[in-house]
């Protein structure tokens, strides 16, 4: 019998080394729509509606947007929940509805991702 993992780690976003290592393939191919064109770098998170466009990205200091997560798990079938309502209500505290470049705004809003992923067992 194989033992179950006790912890799951994942990131929302692409680390800085991968960001500066040239073009990538597979899910990281620029045709997948998660790469900026006018400035080099991956878009780590996209949320779009008729009134809101959040393209959160940027890998360089002082505004890295990658978010790392680590969850202890006790169950064979863990589910991760992304609470979009909660994310939007937090993000709108910054009073910005269009973010499409790296910088302070993207950095602050990306931090809210830490509050909206949860583990449902």
């Amino acid at each position: 019998m194989t033992s179950l993992p006790s912890q799951i780690n994942f990131s929302v976003g692409i680390d800085s080394i991968t960001n500066v290592s040239g073009v990538m393939g597979g899910d990281l191919d620029p045709t997948k729509g998660m790469y900026w064109t006018w400035q080099s770098g991956y878009i780590n998170f996209k949320l779009e509606s008729s009134k809101i466009t959040y393209h959160l990205g940027g890998y360089a200091s002082p505004y890295p947007t990658i978010q790392n997560f680590s969850f202890k798990i006790n169950n064979q079938h863990p589910h991760f929940v992304f609470d979009a309502d909660k994310f939007l209500s937090l993000a709108l505290l910054q009073r910005k509805t269009n973010i499409m470049s790296p910088g302070a705004d993207a950095y602050h809003i990306a931090q809210y991702l830490q509050n909206v992923f949860s583990l449902k067992e």
Partner: protein
């Protein structure tokens, strides 16, 4: 003992074979270490050839009217001579002077503000820009997928039937990496194959004293962003590097361009405002730089003669870099 020698030999041979693909391009020995990560995109003749076809193909622009070569012409050191600002589809005009393209494997960043950090991903900018090709990489890849010619060329170059954004960009990068300009009179003098005239030698001394700090030899750029002390063009309102770095001290700083092939790549400066090299020298000898550049009219003539010695006609007229009309057909085995 014998085994150890064999192992050492195998390791050495392996290391050599890993590097062998670099011999495809005649890289100059008197240049510094490359900045391009060749290990992620090993060179091959097929990929360079495919990249060349793509570079010259208007299929990259939305209405298939302009190619990379429209603003980066081989006869102008892959710049856009006589056009101050780059041109796009439907006669749109950009905001910057299209730079010359050569010796790109040593570049640490691209574009006048360094917005692009790697040669592979640079073409995404002009392909997508509304004032350039106004297209997008998905449209381009879909068009290539529908072309039997490109299906054939990609499968030859990448051992894969599927055309991906990654392979498209890697092929384009390889052609651009093959654009080497390292055979000017300056290079020949450096290699002991030629000698400067008295005037060129005086010009070289002035260059070392006044220009080398930013236009550092042998690439003739220190790759940094520096102020050019030009009065900003109010219509363009181009803040330069600070747009990317978001630092106020980078306002109106632009990437230092190489001084090679200046005869072929006029006009000059990020907005192409100077048509003549003498205007550039006049500007810098009056500009409020630290340290100040002081040049007499004789100094300017001497400096000019040295700058002319940085032209590389063997690069400008290299037939292998030209429009590859013979490549745009599927080879017929019966021929």
């Amino acid at each position: 003992m014998k085994l150890r020698i064999y192992i050492a030999l195998i390791v050495a041979l392996f290391a050599l074979s890993m590097q062998q693909h670099l011999d495809i391009i005649a890289f100059p020995k008197h240049f510094p270490e490359h900045n391009y990560s060749f290990e992620n995109n090993p060179l091959s003749f097929q990929k360079i050839e495919l990249g060349k076809m793509l570079f010259y193909d208007p299929i990259l622009s939305l209405d298939s009217t302009i190619s990379c070569a429209s603003c980066h012409s081989p006869y102008n050191a892959f710049a856009h001579a006589d056009h101050a600002l780059s041109h796009g589809i439907h006669d749109t005009i950009g905001t910057r002077n299209a730079p010359a393209l050569f010796n790109l494997s040593w570049n640490k960043s691209f574009m006048w503000d360094g917005a692009i950090h790697h040669l592979d991903v640079q073409p995404l900018a002009p392909i997508s820009s509304p004032s350039e090709m106004n297209c997008d990489i998905n449209t381009v890849v879909a068009r290539l997928e529908r072309s039997p010619l490109y299906k054939f060329k990609f499968s030859e170059a990448f051992d894969s039937e599927q055309i991906t954004g990654e392979n498209f960009l890697k092929a384009l990068a390889q052609f651009q990496l093959s654009l080497i300009s390292a055979n000017s009179k300056y290079d020949q003098v450096l290699k002991g194959e030629n000698t400067f005239t008295a005037q060129e030698a005086k010009g070289y001394a002035l260059f070392v004293q006044h220009c080398n700090r930013c236009h550092t030899e042998p690439l003739f750029t220190n790759q940094n962003f520096e102020t050019n002390q030009l009065t900003p063009d109010a219509a363009l309102n181009d803040v330069g590097r600070s747009k990317i770095s978001q630092k106020e001290e980078d306002n109106y700083k632009f990437k230092v361009p190489s001084l090679r092939n200046l005869d072929h790549s006029y006009p000059y400066m990020h907005d192409g405002r100077f048509k003549k090299l003498s205007q550039v020298l006049d500007h810098y000898s009056q500009a409020n730089l630290t340290p100040k550049i002081t040049l007499t009219s004789d100094d300017k003539k001497d400096l000019m003669s040295f700058l002319i010695a940085l032209n590389d006609t063997s690069f400008i007229f290299n037939p292998t870099n030209k429009y590859p009309h013979n490549l745009y057909k599927i080879p017929n085995e019966n021929e």
